[in-house]
């Protein structure tokens, strides 16, 4: 169990969600409040360890008096606000956004999205067979991880994790504009010639599998990746004295990838190259 610091006490503010009174601590987002009230709102780009970018617009809700819909993930709850989460208008936007996304990228490795597509009766095929898609070959230029742009929804989480929110390496950025916008390193070169330090924190936050461990990518390609057969063990990294938590994902007695618990108050899911990728010695059974 990890210990979560309580922080300073915050005032509660009152507002309504779908006509029911809600009380949340000051500073909470509408999404926080909805979750506390047991309401499920789909979201892709929101991340528990990062400031929300509200780029995907799947989590939009209706707020009384607002001209447009508002993203629940980033809009803070205000006293007296009247929020409606399941109106026809909000559901319509979510459905279209899911259709737009699913018609333009491969969401096959995005958790939970299949359920949302069904729930909102999204039909991504209706844009026709010629609808523009991001169909690019995965970029494999190093032994640690793979960039598959065909799965990228441009949620900005990897950029934020690599940049000023966590890693401060600034190795990646969004480049280009509009539909042609992509995540890339400087001069759009290979990762090996970039400022990347291979911490893998971008993989940790990627919601779609566009960034993946080479180990996972290879096993998926070979058809041997089987999450149901994997066990997860959280332990302490042995490399240095910081005490980062590692979650070892083990399949057939082999470590297949390493993640880190996001609720750990020290690392919030972040690791360095050694903790994330330096596990081969464990299974060196020579």
């Amino acid at each position: 169990m990890t210990v979560t610091p309580l922080g300073i006490p915050r005032r509660l503010l009152e507002f309504t969600i779908d006509g029911e009174a809600a009380r949340v601590p000051e500073g909470s987002t509408i999404l926080d409040a909805c979750r506390a009230a047991g309401k499920e709102i789909p979201t892709l780009c929101e991340g528990d360890t990062l400031a929300p970018k509200n780029a995907c617009r799947v989590c939009v809700v209706e707020v009384e008096g607002a001209r447009t819909l508002v993203p629940a993930c980033s809009r803070r709850a205000e006293p007296g606000m009247e929020v409606r989460t399941g109106t026809e208008r909000a559901r319509h936007s979510r459905k279209i956004v899911l259709e737009l996304l699913a018609s333009s990228v491969d969401l096959s490795t995005t958790p939970r999205v299949a359920g949302w597509l069904k729930e909102y009766e999204a039909k991504p095929d209706r844009f026709g067979p010629d609808a523009a898609r991001l169909e690019e070959e995965p970029r494999i230029d190093n032994e640690l991880y793979v960039r598959d742009y065909g799965k990228c929804v441009l949620c900005y989480k990897c950029v934020d994790a690599c940049g000023d929110q966590w890693q401060n390496t600034f190795a990646i950025s969004v480049v280009g504009r509009g539909f042609d916008a992509r995540i890339a390193v400087e001069h759009d070169g290979p990762l090996t010639e970039s400022a990347c330090v291979y911490c893998g924190n971008c993989i940790e936050v990627c919601p779609t599998g566009a960034l993946s461990f080479k180990s996972e990518f290879d096993m998926r390609a070979a058809g041997t990746w089987d999450e149901s057969a994997q066990s997860e063990t959280t332990t302490v990294c042995a490399y240095c004295g910081v005490g980062c938590n590692l979650t070892l994902h083990v399949q057939d007695n082999e470590i297949v990838k390493v993640t880190s618990p996001h609720d750990n108050p020290v690392t919030h899911g972040n690791l360095c190259i050694k903790g994330r990728f330096g596990y081969q010695h464990v299974q060196n059974r020579g």
């Binding site: 780029a55 208008r89 319509h92 844009f127 969004v174 504009r177 509009g178 001069h187 400022a195």
Partner: protein, 607 residues
């Protein structure tokens, strides 16, 4: 931050371009030769990072000198400013005017947007391309609106070098455009700004009164024509008094959103956080809009004076004029005006001896319509990608550099000058109760006298078109630009006010009035509008990034179809358009479907 710079080196030319802007480097940490001192001491750090806002000017410097931005040049600029190369690459690839791939030193932008397309831009392009051929050293680029709609079709030649040379050809012929590209220096001069004001010289004008009358380079001439009396009055009234006048005058923003200016100023002035900033949005890139260009080219000191008044009222000591990169003459005129004003104590530490300090920095945009969105504009000035921020917080609270900022466009600011000279009641008496004051309209397309017209709010669309003289049989009028909507020829009695257009189910937008006769193929026009939004979407949010593409695809499918054959795609357009309007982050995505929707609903396109 632990930055890694590649080992690519700038050429001498690239280095000189950057050094001309930033001065020579002082330490090997930022690209100079290594000295003994460097072993113990690193320059850079926070002080260098604070200069991040010089990234855009730096990219311009390289692009102007070399014509494109190479790896070595970009890395050198990053080293000088302590900007991560990946981020700078993201910024450089954001703007249409920059290229990170080699290209010829001379670019000829040929406008193919609405007014120019209607005036035969396609044929012009083809003619220019066949004349220049492949080995001419000139790259011909089809460009979105160049803001020269009154002289359509238009072309802008930019020849990289030291200094960069530009030439505008409008109305362009194949001969003129090719000459402008080959020898920008010997291309014929542009006509004076007043050429774009058919009413020039009319004493009843308020905003355009001086265009064509004063010498745009002469500060004394400006003062002789009533210049700087408004600022003197402002100093008499005090900041709160100025805001009261602006509020009482009923001035609202002229950029399209129509937000009350006095309230915005008051909200900024009352913020406890400091410094405050004034930002003038002179990035008009809406197809069909060119009024800000004409104001800046014809009466530049009025804008300097108006910005000074805005700064004084809101407690700002620094202002940024963010000027469209495609407006070389407006940039030159404004630079000259700012320099002159500074030399004469009308900008600087002690304006008019009142002990008030204010100065203006001019920033050139680099070809991104979305930077007209206020928060995107802040990002652009700060050296980030010009992507809009999510609101709240609003700019009056956290704007440029995270500080309270008042942002107004050129036309809005220029209105402040007559408000102070004539007084709020007299100003408010112009126009209607709900829309006070004079308004500028950019009339173009199928009219005899295209240009910027000034009318009091309340005149009808028909009266305006009568002044301009409709040519041929009117088929439709695009009101408010690409983000606005079409109206029918039988709706010309719509009063040109915010409330009147709203009642008629359309919008005044930025004041674009583009007339199309019945020879213009409507579906092609709509396709061009969709193409514009697809090109200009920043790509940040899904509804806009993918929605604009799907919209264009659907319009392509039905370009030659009507009735039942188009019905399915029209329904699809409606559904996607509704989500874009509801769920996009900024106004670009929210309005991208307006014009197409109005063409379907009001003009019966595809029926």
């Amino acid at each position: 931050m632990d930055l890694r710079f590649g080992d690519s080196r700038p050429t001498d030319e690239e280095r000189a371009a950057v050094d001309a802007l930033l001065g020579p480097p002082e330490s090997s940490w930022e690209g100079a030769d290594r000295s003994d001192a460097d072993l113990r001491w690193a320059r850079g750090g926070r002080a260098a990072r604070d200069r991040r806002d010089l990234l855009l000017p730096g990219l311009h410097a390289i692009n102007d000198r070399v014509g494109w931005i190479g790896e070595g040049a970009l890395d050198y600029l990053c080293r000088r400013l302590t900007v991560p190369p990946a981020e700078a690459y993201g910024v450089a690839t954001f703007y249409a005017m920059f290229s990170v791939r080699p290209r010829p030193a001379t670019l000829l932008h040929v406008c193919t947007d609405l007014a120019c397309a209607a005036a035969g831009a396609d044929g012009l392009c083809a003619g220019i391309e066949s004349r220049l051929g492949l080995s001419s050293g000139v790259s011909v680029e089809r460009s979105p609106c160049l803001g020269l709609c009154e002289r359509a079709p238009a072309a802008l030649a930019v020849k990289a070098g030291d200094p960069v040379r530009t030439a505008v050809s409008a109305p362009a012929t194949v001969d003129d455009a090719v000459l402008a590209a080959r020898a920008p220096d010997s291309a014929p001069q542009e006509p004076p700004a007043a050429w774009a004001v058919p009413q020039a010289g009319d004493p009843a004008l308020t905003l355009l009164r001086r265009v064509g009358v004063v010498d745009p380079a002469g500060l004394d001439d400006y003062r002789a024509n009533g210049g700087y009396t408004a600022l003197r009055r402002a100093f008499e009234l005090g900041p709160a008094g100025v805001i009261r006048e602006v509020t009482d005058a009923g001035l609202v923003g002229r950029g399209g959103a129509a937000f009350p200016t006095g309230r915005k100023w008051q909200a900024t002035a009352s913020q406890p956080d400091h410094p405050h900033y004034v930002v003038c949005n002179a990035d008009e890139s809406e197809p069909g809009t060119f009024k800000d260009r004409v104001l800046m080219e014809g009466d530049p000191y009025a804008l300097v004076e108006a910005m000074t008044i805005a700064a004084y009222a809101t407690g700002a000591h620094r202002g940024y004029l963010y000027l469209r990169g495609e407006y070389p003459r407006a940039v030159r005129r404004m630079r000259h005006a700012v320099t002159q004003a500074r030399a004469r104590g009308l900008l600087g530490d002690d304006i008019l001896g009142q002990g008030y300090a204010f100065d203006i920095e001019i920033r050139r945009g680099a070809g991104a319509y979305v930077c007209g969105e206020e928060t995107a504009l802040f990002n652009s000035i700060e050296g980030y990608r010009g992507e809009p921020r999510s609101k709240p917080p609003f700019p009056v609270e956290k704007g440029l550099f995270g500080k309270p900022t008042v942002e107004n466009n050129v036309e809005t600011l220029v209105n402040v000058v007559p408000i102070l000279t004539m007084g709020a009641p007299a100003y408010a008496a112009i126009g209607t109760g709900g829309s006070t004051g004079p308004k500028l309209f950019c009339v173009s397309g199928s009219v005899h006298r295209p240009g910027v017209y000034e009318l009091p709010f309340g005149a009808t669309l028909g009266e305006l078109l009568e002044l301009a003289g409709v040519r041929g049989r009117l088929r439709a009028v695009l009101l408010g630009g690409a983000a606005g909507g079409f109206v029918r020829p039988d709706e010309l009695d719509i009063p040109l006010t915010f409330e009147g257009t709203r009642e008629a189910g359309t919008t005044l937008g930025s004041g674009v009035v583009m007339a199309f006769d019945d020879t213009v193929p409507l579906p092609r026009l709509l396709l061009r509008i969709a193409e514009f939004f697809r090109d200009e979407s920043c790509g940040q949010c899904v509804p806009c990034r993918v929605g604009t593409v799907r919209q264009e695809e659907a319009l392509h499918r039905i370009v030659d179809r009507t009735g039942a054959a188009a019905a399915e795609d029209v329904a699809l357009l409606r559904e996607v358009g509704r989500a874009m309007r509801d769920a996009s982050i900024c106004g670009l995505g929210q309005t991208a479907w307006n014009a197409v929707e109005s063409a379907i609903d009001r003009l019966g396109a595809y029926e």
